[in-house]
């Protein structure tokens, strides 16, 4: 089966102007995403996790063409989406839609819900009459659990969860094949999070969508993903089936992330060993040599500073010179 989208060595680099620099001097470069490769099958869910500043959102924006990127991202029909002219990209914009992090901020406060949801439809299906657009919008509102008679209300009259449903309805109205969810639930209450995630799961099953689900919360990702991609400082650390990754994380960074997930059981929570990560995320303007995680890795050795580890390992890909579970001695040394 051909993958729906196949990213190879995707890179996003931002120019950061130096304060007080002359206009013709070379700007410093910030590597937000540094060579990410993955395949996404139709109907599959890929979870993307990593701490803030690891390039998750930038990766999403690169795929949808909101930030300029280099590398390749090949769609199912063989077209490379990177560097496509806006006119040619328009066709694929209706295939790839996005759900944003802040439910209220992603909706225009001066437009009614009906206008907001209809916007992609009006842009991509130009032949539709007003009545048809309205019917489709109402159908979609019903589908995501909103009352269709509220079509004339404004975003500020809805709760956060309802606003996120509006965002989802807007993404799904043009029947896309891939929906990129950029931390769709991190701004919501826990009880609403579950509702929205279940809604996403149901819609995915009904419509055969592929999802790229970005989150910094590993337990949320575990619930919905088929495979999980762990990012750190713009690079892939580990990419594996969700079950395998959660049961047997190989990369020290993944292990540290997993150990930080709280367990809703005080006894087990207390017995759990946290793996503390010292220091801060290094600056992406000046990433460490070799393995980018080595500055905070409890297992770092000389080779980690000199050579960049390749992403390898068949179905369970890891970018580490010394993969495997941390031993009790290493844990003791780390914390």
């Amino acid at each position: 089966m051909t993958p729906l989208i196949s990213a190879r060595e995707l890179r996003v680099t931002f120019d950061v102007p130096q304060p007080g620099a002359l206009p013709w001097s070379k700007p410093r470069q910030l590597h937000a995403v540094g060579g990410v490769s993955f395949d996404l099958m139709p109907g599959e869910t890929l979870g993307v996790v990593g701490e803030s500043g690891s390039g998750k959102s930038t990766l999403a924006r690169a795929l949808i063409g909101l930030v300029p990127a280099t590398g390749r991202a090949v769609w199912q029909d063989g077209t490379d989406l990177i560097g496509l002219s806006p006119r040619k990209m328009l066709k694929y914009r209706s295939e790839i839609q996005m759900v944003f992090q802040d439910p209220l901020a992603s909706l225009d406060p001066r437009m009614t819900v009906g206008q907001i949801i209809a916007e992609p439809l009006v842009t991509h299906r130009k032949g539709l009459s007003r009545a048809e657009v309205k019917t489709r919008v109402k159908d979609m509102m019903d589908r995501v659990g909103l009352l269709p008679n509220q079509i004339n209300r404004y975003p500020h009259e809805f709760s956060g969860g309802q606003c996120q449903r509006i965002g989802i309805a807007r993404a799904l109205i043009v029947e896309p094949r891939l929906v990129i969810c950029d931390e769709p639930v991190s701004a919501l209450d826990v009880s609403i999070q579950a509702q929205v995630i279940n809604l996403m799961g149901d819609l995915q099953r009904d419509l055969g969508l592929a999802l790229i689900f970005i989150a910094h919360d590993l337990s949320v990702v575990k619930h919905i993903s088929d495979r999980v991609l762990v990012m750190y400082l713009g690079r892939v650390m580990e990419l594996a089936e969700a079950q395998a990754l959660y049961a047997e994380p190989r990369h020290p960074y993944t292990q540290a992330l997993l150990s930080a997930v709280p367990i809703p059981d005080p006894g087990r929570e207390r017995a759990k060993r946290m793996i503390p990560l010292g220091g801060e995320l290094p600056s992406p303007m000046n990433p460490p040599s070799g393995c980018v995680f080595r500055t905070r890795c409890p297992r770092a050795q000389a080779v980690c500073a000199s050579e960049r580890p390749a992403l390898e390992g068949g179905a369970h890909l890891t970018a580490c010179h010394f993969p495997g579970a941390l031993t009790p001695q290493e844990l003791a040394a780390a914390g």
Binding site: M89, S94, A105, R110, T112, E119, D142, N152, E157
Partner: protein
């Protein structure tokens, strides 16, 4: 069986009467109505507007006819009176001051509204385009504004009027040339902060073309600031026109404006014909005050921080 039930309930939900939403504009309107000073000022402005439109119907004398019975004796015979039809008195040449004030109000309001109108249309589109496109285009467009701003406009306006002759169209051209500069700067700043909001990004991701994003998303979200600034701009336009007319360079006889009337009135103040100054000055002051209060009220009503 279950399916039909489901479909029926779906049909029922789809056919429910639509609930009307409460738009941000409606909210602002409600807040504005609660602001007493602004509402009174709005009423004053409406009255001044009605005076400008229908004043000529009330006037007993046309504005260009001299009353020879009072000519030359304005101080003694030209005082405001109901009996001879000069409600506001006459000027030194025996012209009816009431109809002159009506005419001056028309001209001054027109200058203010047209100046502000040019500022709103040109300034908003220019600023929103510069801010949204960004980069080099933005730099070039805003440097052009800086250059125009650095020219002392009153000086240029006076030169224009002296060289090309005093006419209404030249006055509008001069005021229109400078009025949009501030507006475009304000709008650009607002656009820059709007540009990175998620709903603009959502529209871009959906493939909405740039001009539609500017017109459908950026401009409606800017209108609050623009409306406030425009109401404060109208009195500024009236002021600069009055200043030029006061210098004797503005509108030409037989046309007149508040500034010209005040100038005439100030010139004859010493001869005891104070009404020639006071009536135009009264309209001038209440209109400016009313515009400023309405602007204040609009700002309070549209300010998102107030919510």
């Amino acid at each position: 069986m279950i399916e039909t039930q489901k479909m029926q309930s779906l049909a029922a939900r789809l056919s429910q009467p639509e609930v009307k939403g409460r738009s941000p504009w409606a909210d602002a309107r409600r807040r504005f109505r609660r602001n007493r000073a602004a509402m009174v000022s709005l009423a004053v402005l409406i009255l001044v507007g009605l005076f400008a439109i229908f004043g000529n119907q009330i006037a007993a004398w046309p504005n260009d006819e001299m009353d020879f019975s009072v000519m030359g004796q304005a101080a003694q015979l030209g005082a405001p009176s109901w009996t001879n039809g000069h409600y506001f008195g006459t000027d030194d040449l025996g012209r009816d001051l009431f109809s002159r004030t009506v005419q001056g109000t028309q001209v001054s309001l027109m200058v203010g509204l047209i100046g502000a109108g040019i500022a709103v249309i040109v300034g908003t589109l220019y600023g929103a385009t510069a801010g949204y496109v960004g980069g080099r285009t933005d730099a070039v467009m805003m440097r052009a504004v800086d250059v125009l701003m650095s020219i002392p406009y009153m000086f240029v306006l006076i030169l224009l009027l002296v060289i090309f002759g005093r006419s209404m169209s030249m006055l509008f051209l001069g005021i229109g040339l400078i009025s949009w500069l501030d507006m475009s700067r304000i709008v650009r700043g607002q656009t820059l902060s709007l540009k990175h909001r998620e709903f603009i990004e959502a529209a871009r991701a959906a493939g909405v073309p740039a001009w539609r994003i500017v017109l459908r998303h950026i401009v409606p979200n800017l209108l609050g600031v623009v409306a406030v600034y425009a109401t404060l701009l109208v009195p500024l336009m009236i002021l600069s026109e009055s200043f030029i007319s006061f210098l004797g360079l503005g509108v030409q006889e037989p046309l007149t404006s508040w500034g010209a009337l005040i100038s005439e009135g100030a010139g004859t103040m010493n001869y005891g014909t104070l009404w020639q100054l006071m009536f135009p000055l009264f309209f001038f002051c209440i209109t400016l005050f009313a515009f400023f209060f309405v602007g204040d009220g609009l700002r309070d009503a549209l300010d998102p921080k107030d919510r």
